[in-house]
């Protein structure tokens, strides 16, 4: 009986690992001339980034939506946007600013609402994708690298800095999130 329980636990662990490794799926909704994308299972306001936000810093994310034909790797549509997040320390809610030409913003959002707001503001125009064939949409999200390396002294070249440069471990890669989905313009 005990061995049976261990087997179930092992199976559950394997299945949960496989589920975590699966890419997140996108959902689509056509509204007028645009296809709106959502990734309800994808949460990028997590881990160290969330910790940094809750420590009062603003963080910029780069988000890319790419539409690809099913049988080709050549994108038929690509949209990249930059979103700056911050966490209101008194209201304990997120604020997002979509930088660039559009300069939209929203505040007093929960983490899930803030994540959804970004995708909501990245619609795919129906005119930009084939009307008669299904296509694949890929969503990529990453943190913008603009941080100064901690512990570095930029004022002068010192022996300490040389030792640091030659002795430094490789930087941890920045976290990335991905989601995929299949849809059509119909």
């Amino acid at each position: 009986m005990k061995q049976h329980s261990y087997g179930i636990l092992l199976l559950a662990a394997v299945l949960s690992t496989l589920a975590a490794a699966q890419p997140h799926t996108l959902t689509f909704e056509r509204r007028g001339d645009h296809i709106h994308v959502a990734a309800p299972q994808l949460h990028f306001l997590a881990g160290k980034a969330a910790e940094k936000l809750q420590n009062g810093s603003a963080i910029a994310y780069l988000m890319t939506l790419t539409a690809l034909p099913e049988n080709s790797r050549k994108p038929i549509f690509r949209l990249q946007e930059r979103f700056v997040f911050s966490f209101d320390l008194w209201e304990e809610k997120y604020s997002v600013v979509q930088s660039g030409a559009k300069e939209r913003s929203a505040s007093r959002l929960t983490a899930a609402m803030a994540e959804a707001w970004c995708l909501e503001n990245m619609p795919i125009p129906v005119s930009g994708v084939p009307g008669d064939q299904p296509f694949i949409v890929k969503f990529e999200c990453s943190l913008e690298q603009n941080e100064e390396k901690n512990g570095e002294n930029h004022s002068s070249l010192t022996l300490a800095r040389l030792i640091d440069i030659f002795g430094r471990k490789k930087d941890e890669p920045l976290p990335r999130w991905e989601a995929w989905g299949r849809t059509s313009a119909k």
């Binding site: 300069e103 901690n150 010192t158 300490a160």
Partner: protein
């Protein structure tokens, strides 16, 4: 009716403006609408951060939080605090709509390196004196290599190198072990050599000096340091023949430093140091003597005003080599005087007092002191001067108080 329409239009515009104002500006941090309540440093003693930097940070208090300003300051901290990781954190303040800016400092484990200039002084009578130290810190071990050429502190100009090993945590942070090795070549002023002819009781000049000094220090409180050790000094004499004599001494030091929190705007700093060196036949020393030295400083400050009183005294019994004898007339003592005019051989007794007043960095000072031997009296001498003084930097012009040959002495430099 027209008025109602106008009011409605204005209301709509105001609402729109209000909604717009509520949203964060593009690329801004939503917390930038809050006021900075205070700035805190964690993981480091505040005194390790320069006064200028602390004052700059204090300017954030009372202003709207700016992430860029806070990050700029974090960058300045990283530049100043080599070997530390500096992280910025913003927290809710005590008052509503206020935030607290916290800089979290963490020492980078393993290795840190910096070059330090504990002394760099120009004295118009003595020339340049300076030392450069390179400490290398590995965990609780600090290895220091230093170069020195100093004519300011002693009767001799000693030029050479210093090696130091310090273990800063001998079981506990409160106990430290230290080992010094110094090697110097000496040169003496002609006035000292001439004066020696008439004073056979004072040991001759030497051309080289080496010192090996292990010691153990304890810090029963953060203000008090007790230290005990031994100092093995070897001196190479050239006359009457080439020979090496030893000054092997037991050493003990007590240091006390206390700063009080400002009361009614007044802040007090007290410092007291006592040092004992006793060279004895028990340690197979050629020179036998006991040297006591005592320094005390009292500083009272209130805003831009500072008043300081400093006292130094020394007493030697037995026959001590020249490097142990007291001398006055440096960049710290009896300013305005040339030490070789005061006493070219120094003395086995010394007493010195100094008063200073500073308004911001402008300084006025008065020194009085005397150095003598038991059977050779020496009248007290006075010096007056003014200059610019900050925590580490000083530039001053001092005059000896006497009837003739009132030549000013100019001094400039950095001092720890």
């Amino acid at each position: 009716m027209k008025n109602i329409k106008l009011i409605l239009a204005l209301l709509i515009l105001l609402c729109a403006a209000g909604l717009k104002a509520d949203d964060p500006k593009p690329d801004s941090n939503v917390n930038e609408r809050y006021v900075v309540e205070n700035v805190e440093y964690n993981g480091i003693d505040d005194s390790k951060i320069s006064k200028t930097l602390r004052e700059n940070a204090q300017r954030m208090v009372g202003e709207k939080y700016s992430e860029q300003t806070a990050n700029d300051f974090a960058r300045q901290l990283r530049n100043e605090l080599k070997g530390y990781v500096v992280n910025l954190r913003v927290e809710r303040g005590q008052k509503p709509e206020h935030v607290k800016v916290v800089y979290q400092m963490k020492k980078i484990p393993g290795f840190s390196f910096s070059a330090e200039l504990p002394l760099l002084v120009y004295h118009s009578k003595e020339g340049f004196s300076g030392s450069l130290e390179i400490p290398i810190e590995i965990h609780h071990n600090v290895f220091t290599f230093g170069l020195v050429s100093d004519a300011d502190q002693l009767l001799e100009r000693n030029a050479g190198f210093r090696l130091r090993y310090e273990h800063r945590k001998l079981g506990t942070d409160a106990v430290r072990f230290r080992m010094d090795f110094d090697s110097y070549h000496q040169s003496f002023n002609a006035a000292t050599k001439t004066a020696l002819i008439e004073r056979p009781d004072v040991p001759d000049v030497y051309r080289a000096r080496q010192n090996f000094a292990p010691s153990l220090s304890a810090y029963p409180t953060k203000d008090l340091m007790l230290s005990a050790g031994v100092s093995f000094q070897r001196l190479q004499f050239q006359t009457p023949e080439l020979r090496t004599l030893t000054a092997y001494a037991g050493t003990a030091d007590i240091r006390y430093r206390k700063s009080t929190e400002p009361f009614a705007g007044y802040k007090q700093n007290v410092r007291f140091m006592y040092g004992l060196r006793t060279a004895t036949r028990v340690l197979e020393s050629d020179f036998v003597y006991t040297r006591h030295s005592l320094t005390a400083d009292y500083v009272l400050s209130n805003g831009k005003h500072l008043f300081g009183a400093h006292f130094l005294s020394g007493y030697i019994t037995g026959t001590a080599p020249l490097f142990e004898r007291f001398s006055l007339g440096s960049s710290v003592t009896l300013r305005g005087w040339n030490k070789f005019d005061v006493a070219p051989l120094g003395g086995s007794r010394a007493a010195h007092g100094s008063l200073e007043y500073r308004y911001r960095n402008l300084q006025l000072f008065y020194d009085v002191g005397s150095v003598w031997d038991p059977k050779v009296s020496s009248p007290a001498k006075h010096g007056l001067g003014f200059g610019w003084a900050s925590t580490h930097f000083f530039a001053s012009l001092a005059f000896p108080v006497r009837h003739n040959d009132v030549a000013p002495v100019f001094m400039i430099g950095f001092r720890e």
